[in-house]
């Protein structure tokens, strides 16, 4: 009896599974999300040049259906014109960002898959850079080989290998054994070891980031400015930096690091003063402190290398200095970002920011504009001067506005800036041109690994894909920046921009039209010649949401959207 039951049950299950299998639609294809493909705005403007060059044009119908860029036009074989909807003083800084590297027109078309870029497109990008992707051994390593036809100086090492390990101890060990030539993010406790080892060299990375303690001032008791100011005075930030941060880190005097123009103008942050803090807290109505929570995610970032240790120390300090009982709540990374950026966390939270491009607007405007709900209610005392200053190109001219904004931030205390987190890279001592780039985009073509043929670099994690147009992760960006190039680039180990694929980009009077002259005689890795159409095709792919070329990895195109604003976004 039991036997038959078993057989019947199993048959039933088999049949239902078979039905499910037959009933399921064809596996991977998600329904097409693109609006009916209106071919890339087609007004082929014939150019003045005699040769039969047909320049592509990317243009938005009007400034409502786009962000900053109105049109990108190939006005000559080696000239591209960007027309903007508003003045952008940071244009050159932004255009040099690795995400905006240029791909060949035909390759973009060939690797645009159904809903996302083909695997070939994601893993073997074709660019103009000094290295080409040779092999990606997923989980193990990526191998690059030198580009024999590179327009600039040939790379020093014939072969470049990327490896990764999430454990700083493992990275250091491999460097010491000589199995790798350079590592990223030396562990905070290892700086001394590296510095004392004659075979290794330590390079400290300037801290273009900030770690802050955030409040959401729509929740009591943080709606009281005196409470926020009291906490600002009651935390010994020097102790945090001394104990938990590597050398090269500094206590934040302002939100923006001083390395950035207009970053630290205005009065410096409050000094640590526990008595004054307690007084102010008592006057605000909390003589015996109160209970709250500390939210954070257990993710290591340059601005916060020892997350849970810092959280515990802040908890201890709040208790000791202000009698505030804070419960530690660790959140999952995605959920934490979602809740904090939407302003829904009812306690204090630990977050930071790393520079995307070296301009003060990347720090202040993102966080302290009126529309950002992260800190609760923003104050016009700072968001108004910031909005005004964003339109001014000359830093000296904009300075008084930034002084006003910084002082207002200090008064209002939407958050407490704590530290600019230094980090460091380490190399074998015989590596030339060692770098610890402030933007984390080390450029390996100029590094000679002591005469050896192969340069092995070890970073924190594996790149997600090598299609940087649709990536945000620094580990991916560093890899693809060896292979593709943008119109401008950041100088090696610095933040100033220099011409790359463009020889110059000249703006008009009010910074709304930029005309870029392109470098001639450059070929892509697949042999095709670089010209203006490749630039337009690349920006079409990245900016125009209605284009069939707009296929990426996750199709989020965050950086195209966030720094420029996508064109023709689907209306729902």
């Amino acid at each position: 009896m039991k036997q038959k039951l078993y057989v019947l049950l199993s048959l039933f299950v088999l049949v239902s599974m078979a039905l499910a299998a037959c009933g399921a639609p064809a596996p991977t294809e998600a329904p097409a999300t693109e609006a009916p493909a209106t071919e890339a705005p087609a007004t082929e403007a014939p150019t003045e040049v005699v040769d039969d060059f047909e320049g592509r044009v990317l243009s938005a119908p009007d400034c409502d259906s786009t962000g900053i860029i109105k049109s990108v036009e190939a006005t000559a074989r080696y000239e591209v014109t960007f027309t903007l909807c508003q003045p952008d003083p940071a244009f050159l800084s932004k255009i040099a960002f690795g995400v905006y590297g240029i791909y060949p027109e035909e390759w973009i078309e060939a690797t645009a898959g159904e809903t996302s870029r083909t695997t070939e497109g994601l893993e073997r990008p074709v660019g103009t850079g000094p290295y080409m992707v040779s092999e990606w051994n997923r989980g193990e390593s990526i191998t690059f080989t030198a580009n024999p036809n590179y327009w600039g100086d040939a790379p020093e090492a014939e072969t470049l290998v990327f490896r990764w390990s999430s454990e700083s101890a493992a990275r250091l060990l491999e460097l010491q054994s000589g199995t790798v030539d350079g590592i990223d993010n030396v562990g905070p406790t290892d700086f001394e070891t590296v510095a004392n080892d004659p075979n290794l060299s330590l390079n400290e990375r300037p801290a273009l980031n900030v770690f802050y303690i955030g409040f959401t001032n729509t929740f009591a008791p943080f709606d009281n400015q005196d409470v926020r100011q009291a906490i600002a005075k009651g935390i010994d930030r020097q102790r945090i930096v001394d104990t938990f941060y590597p050398p090269g880190s500094e206590v934040a005097s302002h939100f923006t690091p001083c390395a950035i123009a207009n970053g630290c103008v205005g009065d410096p942050w409050y000094d640590f003063d526990p008595e004054a803090a307690r007084e102010q807290l008592a006057a605000a109505g909390f003589p015996d402190g109160f209970s709250t929570k500390i939210y954070y995610r257990d993710v290591v970032r340059g601005y916060l290398p020892q997350v849970s240790n810092v959280a515990q120390d802040i908890q201890a300090q709040l208790k000791e200095n202000l009698n505030i009982d804070a419960e530690i709540v660790v959140m999952e990374s995605g959920a934490f970002i979602e809740e904090s950026t939407a302003g829904r966390l009812d306690g204090i939270y630990l977050l930071g920011w790393g520079a995307d491009y070296p301009h003060v607007t990347n720090f202040l405007d993102f966080h302290f504009s009126e529309a950002n709900p992260q800190f609760g209610v923003q104050s016009p005392t700072y968001f108004e001067p910031l909005a005004e200053a964003a339109q001014i190109a000359d830093p000296a001219e904009a300075e008084p506005l930034y002084v006003e904004a910084n002082n207002a931030i200090r008064e209002y205390v939407p958050m407490i800036p704590v530290a600019h987190g230094g980090s460091g890279t380490a190399y074998r001592s015989d590596v030339t041109n060692q770098q610890a780039s402030p933007l984390s985009n080390e450029y390996f073509a100029v590094m000679d690994p002591g005469g050896r043929d192969v340069f092995v670099w070890m970073q924190n994690a594996e790149p997600i894909s090598l299609f940087c147009a649709d990536e945000t992760d620094g580990e991916s960006l560093r890899a693809c920046e060896q292979v593709i190039e943008a119109l401008y680039s950041y100088e090696v180990n610095g933040t100033d921009v220099q011409p790359a694929l463009a020889t110059s980009c000249e703006p008009n009077e009010d910074l709304t039209v930029w005309v870029c002259a392109l470098r001639e005689g450059v070929t892509f890795h697949d042999g095709t010649t670089f010209d203006a159409n490749d630039v337009v095709a690349t920006f079409t792919m990245g900016l125009d949401a209605s284009s069939p070329l707009h296929k990426g990895n996750t199709n989020a195109w965050e950086y195209y959207d966030y720094l420029w604003g996508l064109m023709n976004k689907p209306s729902e």
Binding site: E167, A169, T193, T243, F244, D298, D313, A316, V330, E332
Partner: protein
């Protein structure tokens, strides 16, 4: 007539009570004879003592930050005066941890947590497991099938992975980790209970009790459960050992105890990157875990051998 029956009934009761006393005594005596079980019990005794008196034994608080109070650096190696460390420096038997706290004190407080973890998970799992197993074995039929199939599905996943999945659903935290490990441990107790029930269900004295008018509930509790007690105890003791290991693994991965709780696994996990520069922060917590788990394993083994009639001739 009545006199005779009365005498028989009393004799019976006496004999039965004499029997049960001597069984326990025999077990105890055999347990003590095994040296390894003695070692285990000694270690456990020390740990229980530490757990109860941590406040008095620990020279510092478990979350007491020493910055500004003593001249120590984060992750400093242990300083033991008896072994030659200069008497001017403050003594820290197990060194300083990443947040400038005394590790020795944290280790002592951690004993409390680990013992609690072990006992509560296993209690939770035993209660639910025995109920499920008893129902499956006693009622039989469809219930048996469904319950045991569900146990099979639970057992089809490696226990740690399933626990990780459950904790991710519930959210990180020690309580959730306990629930996850408890859930994952249920099947083995259910099986033990069910096997016991099945083996005893058809025996004569059960039918006799039923004939005398005993309810199902009575039968389960008074007759069947005591029978299952011995394998459950053995399984439970060994289960505490593996529960402590699993909880440490979850904390190591960041899913269990949250800072600043001084749980050994999370202490280890937090410092695993510093294994070369601060090995004392990796060695001691792991060593304590091993010691605790060892004690339960030794006791569990001893109990199993002591309670197993077959091994009566093998010492």
């Amino acid at each position: 007539m009545t006199n005779q029956t009365a005498t028989i009934a009393t004799l019976d009761a006496e004999q039965i009570s004499i029997q049960s006393v001597s069984l326990w005594q025999i077990t105890w005596r055999r347990l003590f004879r095994r040296k390894s079980a003695l070692v285990g019990m000694f270690i456990l005794g020390v740990l229980i003592f530490i757990a109860l008196t941590a406040e008095f034994l620990a020279p510092y608080g478990y979350d007491e930050v020493l910055i500004g109070k003593e001249d120590v650096v984060a992750r400093e190696k242990p300083c033991i005066h008896l072994l030659g460390c200069s008497p001017e420096k403050p003594q820290h038997l197990a060194g300083i941890d990443g947040n400038v706290r005394d590790q020795f004190s944290r280790l002592l407080y951690g004993a409390r947590l680990s013992l609690l973890v072990g006992f509560s998970t296993v209690t939770f799992a035993i209660i639910i497991g025995t109920i499920l197993g008893a129902v499956a074995g006693y009622v039989g039929g469809w219930w048996d099938n469904i319950i045991m199939r569900f146990m099979d599905v639970l057992l089809a996943f490696p226990s740690l992975l399933l626990a990780i999945a459950i904790v991710t659903v519930l959210g990180p935290g020690l309580i959730n980790a306990l629930i996850a490990i408890g859930i994952v441990s249920i099947p083995s107790y259910a099986r033990v209970m069910r096997a016991s029930v099945l083996s005893v269900r058809e025996m004569d004295y059960i039918s006799a009790t039923r004939a005398l008018g005993g309810s199902n509930f009575q039968i389960l509790f008074k007759r069947i459960l005591p029978n299952a007690l011995t394998p459950l105890i053995v399984q439970g003791t060994l289960g505490i050992a593996s529960a402590i290991l699993d909880a440490a693994a979850l904390s190591f991965l960041g899913l269990g105890a949250q800072p600043p709780t001084p749980e050994w696994g999370s202490m280890l996990g937090a410092e695993r990157n510093q294994v070369f520069t601060a090995p004392h922060l990796v060695f001691y917590p792991g060593f304590m875990i091993m010691l605790t788990v060892l004690s339960f394993n030794l006791i569990g083994d001893g109990l199993r051998d002591a309670l197993d009639p077959r091994l009566a001739h093998v010492s």
